[in-house]
Symmetry: C2
């Protein structure tokens, strides 16, 4: 076989030619002496037709097939796929790699599995065309974010994930044995991106974040990917402009580049206007009270149902899939969040909500060294644990602020997935690290 | 001050205008009643001149300065900087944030510090213009790699860093307390990118890699950033073409976008030809023997001095900064490396050397399930520890291979840095995680 490889998608340009395709068998259908196989490669699907030489093939076998590209009989044309007007008349079949019997039907349009099965067989289920598309969208989210960050003047930085003290205090951190010392996996790149503000003024970073939350929810992962920006010399209004810009640009990039996938997941067109509606948390609670009669106006945070309700409001009243909520109570936010100078009970913080869920969070930061030391002490943390971080403030720090997206959150929301685990290639939680932790035979 | 901010670089367009600049004080020079300050922001440097209102300013103070942009007296023109023909005649000074006394001279062109001091004051030393430039180059390495990978048809994936078994066997792994279970920080994204081959055929990923090597060298870090590609349906020659393409494109992108920085670090123009010289390890050893009289032809690997010598050969004989070395002994490479079918003592592996050091490594992989299980057992590892990885091979895996760059290594080599720590914002090693581990008061 000295023919070079033709991708599935390119076969349509070669009607009448002999081609070689290298692919995975998606499905096989036997019709008497005629056998049809759908062949899947990175470009898409193409149908091959032949005789008994195809009857040995099973789903997920890797094959090299040589044959002639010809037009399908009119009755067999499939308008749904780009190669639906042609087929390959098989001359030669080579099995490159065999596959075990499928544990479930990989050939159906939807892979309707319970989550445990979806992840017990993750190396296999990631091959299903619909599952795969989730991660095509994820790659587009990343590219869209990167372009938005660069447009805002940010330079990319690479920060560590192992530290000696935990990022934001609290107990929900994973500890590491670091050459005999106790170290921690960072809960976020937050402190490091702030330290780079005096160097570059505007930075972005893509980083893993580790949260040892002892609970299982549909919207938290123990290891996730965060997309972060941080800006020097900004005031609160400018920060709001920037975060909304980043949010809008990222989502628009995905819609533009993944139009068909979003349609395939049944998602409506994005509703994003020039102006994103902005509300303080207290204003949002009042609106929710008025709309639902449920009084959460004394609560210190928005609950999941509050987030969904205020997004319904934004959609109905402002025709917007996005809404920015500001001024969360200072006590509910991380120590580096700047209290509002006009009312220190509330902070210059914000969340960006998208179709019912927070996808981005951030704030104006405390940039004064003395204030920061005071706050760290008031929160019962030890300034000595923040030596390198505080150094940045000791030597001249301008007013600054920033924000952070959760990559899996954005992916989940833009595709309407029910569980954030579906938006992670290999999700980590309390119960699973590839294998179920309960099945481990530990020494 | 309701003027909006002007960046240092943009002052030259505003001669005769009143401007406001927001910046860090780089240096202050007092000449009798006249005081000069160099103001540094993300765009560069601009000089301000005034009277005693400037004499309070010290290095690293953050200031807002209002004044008129005017031409400098001819004798004062500095051709070395883009704003060297103008200065700001100061009218108003506002100190935004003070800085402590500098522990060393931050105003000199070179920051000549011993490494421990460079890292004890990392939040400060990263602001020095020459140190900062290292990370501008690093951002360009990343961008260049990403473009090269996309050009090769790879899609970006995001893989986990915490696993239940160690990636490549061996003891040099950091262990994590994962909800009471013993987990490990991945030594590389290797196994995960391979698992994605059946999904996307061609993938790239940017990931942290963790190596608990109990030694301190000038070219290893305990936490580093890896740039990885992996390709389905490739043979060894094609892999060599791809890796050389990725190497060449990445380096060329950096040279094109960081020309002045490379010159500032005294680096010569890149010597990269259409064809990168290729040698097997045994051929390289013979050449080294001939050139130096030192006989390493029986050694099982190239040592650091061997790498430098074969790079001198490539430069002198082939006018190339790059050389590809192939066919390292199978026993010296990771378990997933495919032995050469013609002589299984050697493997279908490769390193790309650049100016005296390996910057990229990879191989054709073992893609047969049964072979892989045998090899894992032969290396005294347990196939059960690789359950999810082996699943990918159980269900149909084509011939495949790939490679991996070390981000800090490439940065180090392209700038001629002496120690890899200089190419990491916050380097982690046996002795330091921001602070020196020996100084910790552990409970």
């Amino acid at each position: 076989m000295s023919l070079s490889r033709t991708l599935a998608i390119d076969t349509v340009k070669k009607i009448g030619d002999k081609v070689k395709v290298s692919s995975w068998v998606a499905t096989r259908r036997d019709h008497g002496k005629l056998v049809f196989v759908d062949l899947l490669d990175r470009s898409g699907i193409v149908q091959a037709v032949g005789g008994e030489e195809l009857s040995l093939l099973k789903p997920q076998y890797v094959v090299e097939i040589v044959g002639e590209v010809r037009n399908r009989p009119v009755a067999m044309i499939n308008k749904k796929i780009p190669t639906g007007e042609i087929e390959i008349a098989v001359e030669k079949v080579k099995i490159v790699s065999k596959a075990e019997e499928m544990p479930f039907d990989m050939g159906a349009e939807e892979l309707n599995l319970e989550l445990p099965t979806l992840f017990d067989f993750r190396s296999l289920t990631l091959r299903h065309p619909k599952v795969k598309k989730i991660f095509e969208v994820q790659a587009a989210v990343m590219e869209g974010f990167r372009r938005a960050a660069q447009k805002l003047g940010c330079i990319e930085i690479f920060v560590p994930t192992v530290s000696i003290s935990s990022t934001e205090g609290g107990a929900e951190v994973f500890s590491v044995n670091y050459y005999g010392h106790k170290a921690f996996m960072n809960q976020s790149p937050q402190l490091y991106k702030q330290m780079l503000v005096p160097t570059f003024e505007r930075v972005f970073t893509i980083s893993h974040a580790y949260r040892a939350e002892p609970s299982v929810t549909t919207r938290h992962l123990s290891e996730s990917v965060q997309l972060d920006c941080e800006f020097a010399f900004v005031d609160f209004e400018t920060l709001l402009d920037y975060l909304e810009e980043a949010g809008k640009e990222t989502l628009k990039y995905v819609e533009k580049n993944c139009k068909e996938i979003l349609a395939g997941f049944g998602m409506p067109k994005l509703k994003i206007n020039e102006k994103v509606p902005r509300l303080t948390m207290r204003e949002a609670q009042k609106i929710i009270f008025k709309r639902t009669g449920v009084d959460h106006t004394q609560e210190k945070d928005l609950g999941s149902e509050d987030e969904r309700e205020i997004c319904r409001w934004a959609l109905e009243e402002k025709q917007s899939d996005l809404v920015t909520i500001t001024h969360y109570p200072t006590a509910k936010r991380a120590f580096y969040t700047l209290p509002d100078p006009k009312d220190s009970e509330y902070s210059l913080s914000y969340d960006l909500l998208f179709r019912g869920m927070e996808i981005l969070s951030g704030s104006q930061r405390v940039s004064d060294y003395q204030d920061l030391v005071k706050i760290i002490k008031a929160r019962k943390m030890n300034p000595e644990d923040f030596e390198m971080y505080l150094q940045a403030f000791k030597y001249g720090m301008p007013p600054e602020g920033g924000f952070s997206f959760g990559l899996e959150r954005v992916t989940m929301q833009i595709l309407g997935l029910k569980n954030i685990r579906e938006a992670s290639l290999f999700p980590r939680d309390m119960e699973r690290v590839d294998v179920r932790l309960s099945t481990l035979n530990e020494k």
